[in-house]
Amino acid sequence: MKPFRFERPENAEGAVATLTASGAEHARYLGGGTNLVDLMRLGVETPDLLVDVARLGHDAVRETDGGGLRVGAAVRNSDLARDPLLRTRYPMVSQALLSGASPQLRNLATIGGNLLQRTRCAYFTDTSLDCNKRDPGSGCGALDGEHRNHAILGHSAACIATHPSDLAVALTAVGAEVLVEGAAGERHIPMPGLHRLPGDAPERDTVLDPGDLIVAIQLPPLEAARRSSYRKVRDRASFSFAVVSVAAALQCDEDGTIRDVRIALGGVAHAPWRAERAEEELRGGPATAERFAAAAAAELDQARPLEQNAFKVPLARNLIVTVLADLAGVAA
């Protein structure tokens, strides 16, 4: 591992100033380090400066006006998962967190770091292989290689990787906002909207600029989210990344008409995928298994599976139907 300097500023402004004014060629913020340190050990990340942002005081979960939540970026994944308000108001977010990594990793991992973790594409993490994301212009090793667990939606010829965060999928369904402090001051980025599709710039995972610091995540009040869940299909029962996952929330009127529905997919794209087509099909009509199936089909009609991952299309479709049927209390 390359030698690096370590700085621990007092507050967010100090962190941004330290990172942007460092003159360091390659400076990084450090949360829990569970992704960054791993990538440094693999030689994928080679920072010469780490700025610790785990102790800036961004470690509280606060109630906001109207029944939302503001979550500090340095809150540990395990602490947010157990927060009583989060569990009542946004159960899918708690479930997504608890489905990610292992308990001892969740005790280290921060919310900001979780959202900005890099892809688990095996070509990205192996510096001896070609990868446009790690080394722009070198080619995409996965395209002609192993891509069973790569994208079926929104990918490009430059990159077919998926985003690995479970939390990001649930926050995309909620429509959370990311509060960012940058060289030019503070701004709010809506989700979806933080993570990008690869296009011809797969080296950019998100819309953030160098030096941008995530300060907090804001979850808006959302009645539908009280009845929500996160389901994750993986290759083993626990401690494994998603093959496909679904976060969904459903709110019906007394006569069974869908008033609000939120659906987001994980494991299928370079960004958490908000299933807007399916949501649109469903809103205002009855909550029946047939309509769930039609909506899921409409969403997955856009899929462009690769040679080895066509199985993800029916998997995602069926998972959407199963989760919505469970939420509605009807047979799938």
Binding site: F6, T34, R41, S102, Q104, L105, N107, S238, F239
Partner: protein, 181 residues
Amino acid sequence: MALHHREAAPVTQVEIDLTINGENHQLVVDTRISLLDLLRERLGLTGAKKGCDHGQCGACTVLLDGRRANACLALAVAHDGSEVTTIEGLATGDQLHPLQEAFIEHDAFQCGYCTPGQICSAAGFIDELDEAVDGPLSDDLIRERMSGNICRCGAYPNIVSAIREVASARSGAAERVGGAA
């Protein structure tokens, strides 16, 4: 000039303060060193094991400020001021920790390589248990919450029964979960 040289060179050695198994240590460390390497290579505490060095196996699990954490991905500098408990610090004098006793009694290991991590992780698990969040104690819950600790020898059934014994004694729920060893 030597002085000028020193100022220009990046500072990659940092002084930190750690309390390890109740003992205070002031150490000058390279910023790159993981908590795991610090414990094993500098302090001779070789109980925590290096299985993968990538967060995937749990053999390096220690209690960091009372909570289980993977020492391999924790940079020592980032945990300046923390309290660390390793397997060496779990016993009280000659009195083994209840989990250590239970692992012996239930024969919960073969080669023993994963055992320090399993036991530290189980101590964290039992401490975290909250019926309101986790539901009642069950073997499924133990398996789920211990999934960050891999056992290459496959001693899982006995690991689960050892943890079940200690966890149910703690929550006074031995009858409810059934105690077949």
